[in-house]
Subunit: 402 residues, 2 copies
Amino acid sequence: MINIGLLGLGTVGQGVVEIVNSSQEELKKLVGEDVNVKKILVKNKDKERSEEIPKEKITYRVEEILEDKDIMVVIEATSDVEESYKNIRKALEQGKHVVTANKAIVSKYFEELSNLAKEKDRAFLYEASVGGGIPILKPLKEEIALNDISHIQGILNGTSNYILTRMFEEGLDYGETLKIAQDLGYAEANPSSDVDGYDTQRKLRILSTIGLKGEVKENDVLVRGISSISSFDVEQIKKLGYTVKLIGETNIIDEKFTAVVEPVLLRSDSYFANVNMAFNAISLEGNNVGELKFFGAGAGKLPTANAVLKDVIDILKGTYRKKNILGSRKLKNRNEEIKGKYYLRISLGSGEIPEEIKGLAEKILDPNFAAITREVEFQEVDKLLANLNIQDEKYFLARIQD
Amino acid sequence: MINIGLLGLGTVGQGVVEIVNSSQEELKKLVGEDVNVKKILVKNKDKERSEEIPKEKITYRVEEILEDKDIMVVIEATSDVEESYKNIRKALEQGKHVVTANKAIVSKYFEELSNLAKEKDRAFLYEASVGGGIPILKPLKEEIALNDISHIQGILNGTSNYILTRMFEEGLDYGETLKIAQDLGYAEANPSSDVDGYDTQRKLRILSTIGLKGEVKENDVLVRGISSISSFDVEQIKKLGYTVKLIGETNIIDEKFTAVVEPVLLRSDSYFANVNMAFNAISLEGNNVGELKFFGAGAGKLPTANAVLKDVIDILKGTYRKKNILGSRKLKNRNEEIKGKYYLRISLGSGEIPEEIKGLAEKILDPNFAAITREVEFQEVDKLLANLNIQDEKYFLARIQD
């Protein structure tokens, strides 16, 4: 019998228990032994839980999992970072394999935890951390490992994509749509990491480090979010024949790369424009394989738990890549070279639009004020607006992709 | 040093040599040893070959590969079936691992060769046989192995998709477009297996057997091709707001499945309608993971060779599934239950359209003669037309999907 320790019983943890229960027979066929979730770490003693979770499996002390010699694999499925990072370290040091769905930890401690796992000859796997249920990291590590990847692009955050889709389909305002997303469980009480682009930044950092075979750090990725978009913007952008998506994009030529997360105006008939609701999609360009595109559920209980259990099966069967997971290529960031034309909308209430702003416009869409800018650097507009004391929430900026 | 024997030096074989040469260093990093294509079987002694192929590697006798104890992996990259099937058997019997890109062999001898490989404890891998460069079979075997797959749908043949795309984009006739495809190397001199749907049938048989975890035979898949489509059909179909794609589709409820390859009228804004030229796309529906879609180059030298070499790397690293590759689920075919509405065009020259045919129509598009039929069984129209002595090439039939 293979024993698993589960840290966390939120959405992902519950999904893991559910699939292990529903797929007992299939799992046994695949790995040759019964698979058992032996202990589950939870924080809140008083929370009501599904009847499917036997009370004797619940523990409040992480040591009961980390020090249990019968537990071979630890699944980390919490949403915190520092405490869970320490638990992952301890699990690896105790000789346990670790699977996590926690992109914040993978992004922050990617090299450190990968190296520790290698040193201890154990697996550290994280398929669920990018693209939810989409098989993307394993294909990137294995199926197209012989390719030079020149381009990675994706809609990697289901929450922001859900909000943008409903705003464009129904003309709702940002606040209303965020509220709906929160009520449906698509967005958290504090939605910042989703709507401000940090979640996408982390996922792009992970994808790029694997795909480019060299370290791409979180702060190598420029970020701009969608939280200041208004229904007025949606109207203007639709009139132009575009829609808006929060896109993460990495490009590399020779050893020099750019990496950006930002809202982008896409032609309505383009591929990413038609990835809607909480779905994710990722496009890659490799020198041998050409363009590949992957589409699927970017989040959700069962898709994410499916990806976690895929990693567990790979561990139990030894079918995961053990060497050179993170390449040693020395990459140089050239984000300062990024330029583009932008959709810019500013709301100053009764204030006059300063001449400097009008000077940015190549085409004025609304005198009060929406425009398409001339070609500018990534932070050029933000800097100008900051100098004019115009705060972030008073404008929306989105790159135009033709 | 790892030695590979290569059977065939056509497009795929050349691609294999090219990538092995260009990726020596990367391959060594991945597998820990140099990888060497030691011998290459060719048929034609007089053919001119690229200078990249050293003459001493060429052989005309397959025994020089099959009986070479230093050769660990045989890559089968020919286009014939019976002879290559025998060579694959011999290679496995000699204790060699086998990789093939040949879907006709995989489809015809899938269970037999998989069982032989299992018996000999060797790999028999065939990622390139479906979807060209798209990572699809490994994800299906590994990443979503815990899912019950209920639906598989795809554009699996690049040649027919190239022809349909150019006909719809440029209004060309079928004959002209086929000629262009042949001149560009997209279609063979005898294009039947591509345009009549047999290639798609084989790929759907392979995908379905893996995905459904039970045997789906070639003749479990109904087939209708595209070779009788005309520019008149394209005009009519465009007017209705549709495009046409050659679609393979498998559905299963409980243990009963349907499997069909046929031209389908798709709304122009649907996902598959926008998969153009020689690209392929595959959509899967799993109970845990939901819908997944994969897109990429369905053929071509480097994408296909990339998939072949992925299999080789998996063999050298042992990272492929060794047990229960083909499931033992007992499935029942219920193709006789398939019904649908069809676009039907008949060209009788000066002949009168028989009343029986008019009786099929729910809506007449052109009196001379194109129509949308009422709901009919898959072969109902063909049978009626055969009874009226109307030959295959005189009509075009395509299911309407809404």
